[in-house]
Subunit: 141 residues, 2 copies
């Protein structure tokens, strides 16, 4: 287990969560995959399926989302997606509507200025955004 996992778990501890096997495996799995994952995917992943129940993963994700350690994403599927929320890192996603592959967009996000403007003009608090591109990838086309 590398340093980053330890760091994130340290954040969890600060947030008042207990250090459990399930928590460690969940964080590791999300970090290793590097992409948003659904509850079903997570709960059936090798590291977690042997380790704990789907309800546990669900509740863990809920707690982590409540503390801003993971973020829940829509992504147009029926199932919700979850991704680690690394401070200072923001990702937009490119999603193939045919095969469902999700990859982070590498280019810098062009939305922050508009976000600032909206924050000023509307008075919304805790503003953040979610940006996804949908299309058919070359393999599927």
């Amino acid at each position: 287990m590398n340093q980053t996992v330890q760091d994130i778990i340290a954040n969890c501890r600060e947030a008042g969560l207990r250090r459990t096997k399930a928590l460690e495996e969940l964080i590791s799995t999300l970090l290793e995959s590097g992409r948003p994952m659904t509850l079903a995917e997570l709960a059936s992943s090798p590291r977690l399926s042997s380790q704990c129940d789907k309800a546990t993963v669900f509740r863990l994700l809920q707690r982590l989302a409540g503390h801003g350690i993971v973020r829940r994403l829509g992504l147009h599927e029926r199932a919700a997606y979850f991704a680690l929320q690394i401070p200072g890192k923001h990702s937009d996603y490119l999603i193939c509507t045919s095969c469902g592959t999700i990859e982070p967009v590498k280019a810098p996000c062009p939305v922050h200025e508009l976000e600032d403007e909206i924050r000023k003009k509307t008075g919304f608090q805790n503003l953040y955004h979610e940006l996804e591109f949908f299309g058919v990838c070359p393999k599927c086309a």
Copy 2:
């Protein structure tokens, strides 16, 4: 019933759909509301609840989405949202995570250039994007 409704229904007819009461009411409702709505909202709206079953609304929305006349949106809720897809018009949304209000963002969308870039670099077909801002509105704060 105004002209725009007639226009949209004309598009539906061209797409091979029949002109039914349910179709007219659905289009009118979506157009009047001016915002994305869930299946449940639509099916229980005054114009539609008296008119037809939820399954009918569901199937209509599916057909319309298949022909690009409505668009299905994620918007972070458990239920899917549907919005009329007016040619040449694109909307980003500002959503209050506390009361759930959804309003279109008035400012021009700053994402089109990045979208073009992604189209060129990745070879994705039929590329489009979805952009949402989430936060707590002044009333809820």
